[in-house]
């Protein structure tokens, strides 16, 4: 049966001291004699004393816990970010409570409530893709609980204790296209998903602007709205290879479709990158496994988690009365040139 744990009161009684002295000794307060501290520590050790964080948090009004809400913990991106969050939080002495919205706006709302009820000191959120209204974040703002959005953010939702961390998709795309041009590509195709998703919209815009900036024509028949899967990429590429003037470069908005494109090119006995240079986006783990290895853009997932926690910590420290709200942070993505686009 359950061995009730030792409490401060227990220690106090055993040693003939008051609970406050015990508490102070355990938290190594200055004004407790070394002798007393030693006695307390020893007994605590013996009884396997474990402080009750719940009680301490209730009393202090601070839980030492951060809440994290992600759409899901699968795939490549979110696990990495969560890893970054958990690691940085641990370093700063925070516990982490993690919830998944499963891409569902209602669950997201419930989880936000849950995190607030649990008295977390700050909340890190990446939006579910079905979220349209933002009332649930209103409550967080009103309570002045620091809130950091990452990756999937709410635009025009500001406040003295609200900020965001995102990666610059536009910039990443721009870099990719510039690189392809430098490798001698003159007809660069683009695979994209639906443009109402900001990741695709921004990458698409980066593609267009980079072409224009380098004096290349914008050819709408080279822009493929396709399913961003391996199969989708293969189909799109097959289509492009049948054009009177086929492309000699491809920028795919994700890695999966890029791999499909590689396979389509190879199956036509054409060479990657000599005939068609190909670059993906996200730097998935499997980009190193293809033949040729796929160039891609690293989104700095772990860094994003880390940065988000640091931002939160900064808000926590300075309080909401700082001068102006904290600026959103935009991480620079990193182009990784591998075999699939290295011609020289």
């Amino acid at each position: 049966m359950a061995n009730r744990r030792a409490s401060i009161t227990d220690l106090a009684k055993t040693l003939g001291l008051s609970p406050s002295t015990i508490s102070r000794a355990l938290s190594n307060h200055d004004d407790v004699s070394e002798a007393t501290k030693a006695r307390v520590r020893q007994l605590a050790e013996e009884l396997h004393y474990q402080p009750n964080q719940l009680a301490a948090a209730l009393r202090r009004g601070r839980s030492n816990t951060l809440g994290v809400l992600v759409p899901h913990i699968t795939g490549h991106f979110f696990p990495q970010v969560v890893h970054g969050i958990a690691t940085e939080a641990a370093k700063l002495g925070f516990n982490v409570m993690i919830c998944q919205s499963n891409e569902d706006a209602l669950q997201e709302q419930k989880n936000i409530d849950l995190l607030m009820n649990s008295q977390v000191e700050g909340i890190l959120v990446s939006l579910a893709n079905t979220t349209q209204s933002f009332g649930h974040f209103e409550a967080v703002r009103q309570q002045n609980i620091p809130l950091v959005f990452f990756d999937r953010v709410v635009e025009d939702f500001s406040g003295s204790n609200v900020s965001a961390v995102v990666v610059d998709d536009y910039q990443g795309a721009y870099q990719v296209v510039t690189h392809l041009i430098e490798q001698g590509c003159t007809r660069i195709a683009h695979f994209t998903g639906p443009l109402h998703l900001s990741i695709h919209k921004n990458r698409h815009q980066g593609y267009r602007d980079a072409l224009l900036a380098h004096g290349l024509p914008l050819n709408e028949e080279l822009i493929m709205f396709c399913e961003m899967s391996q199969k989708g990429g293969t189909q799109a590429m097959r289509h492009l290879l049948k054009l009177p003037q086929r492309p000699n470069g491809v920028f795919s908005s994700n890695d999966l479709a890029a791999i499909g494109a590689i396979q389509a090119v190879k199956s036509q006995r054409l060479r990657v990158p000599q005939d068609v240079a190909i670059v993906g986006f996200s730097n998935e783990m499997f980009t190193m496994l293809t033949e040729p290895m796929l160039s891609s853009v690293d989104q700095r997932c772990e860094q994003m988690g880390k940065t988000a926690v640091q931002l939160l910590q900064k808000m926590l420290k300075s309080g909401p009365d700082r001068v102006g709200p904290p600026k959103p942070i935009v991480l620079k993505p990193k182009l990784l040139v591998r075999e699939s686009s290295q011609r020289k």
Copy 2:
């Protein structure tokens, strides 16, 4: 500045009721009149009342939270398991606190303490690979906090509130080798990592036993102790292809090395699976992306997380005074036959 949240006391004062009535109304107790309930609920709504879980947990002695401790949240396996855990826990109404040991025994110990201090109601752990002693789990056992190990378990650590969920690696390996034999392979090689890791040990044993059971000779020169990376697999395969009698089947203890093997075979102008059939282990996401697609063994990661939570829940419900400790659960892995080993 911070809008102090409404408390039960606040509601009570406003409505001219006692805190106990408010509490009962909010938890929908039978013996509160519907009229009162309605009033309370309405006011709670208006004031955006959020119950303080910390206080409730302290009072009840139950935190409604499960602790999870994994080596890390990267790669393929652990994110999937954590996803399963988080999903199932949410379904059963538990919150989840997640920690990483970073494969470090000391951090593991500290995190176990942390989870206990946080008054979690149960703990789910997968061991760090440096953990050699198990004193920190002793404390958990003594407090009778239900403990479920998953995947990386402590052998001979039993107790009335301790159990485990693992996947049957031996069985998975046995299935693979049987399948290869059925496909007509007669000389089956095996890639393995160091045998002091139980996953490799068990898969290795499954390999041996399956060969023997089907009357095939056990040929030590076909057993490659190699680095279980893509490169390691390539090197091992190159070596094997130079043997006077080269193998016509390969069972690799992971997928990465299997992919290396495929690439080595293809680069010799041999065909997979006709000349060499290849099967990996773990069903990584990228097994669908290779040409040919790689056969592998699914470890049921999500199911493992789900099962672990259910097991914990069962312990929590029945208490430690049940008849005997809960039996460990062994999940059956699932062989997925894809192109790399399908000859017929």
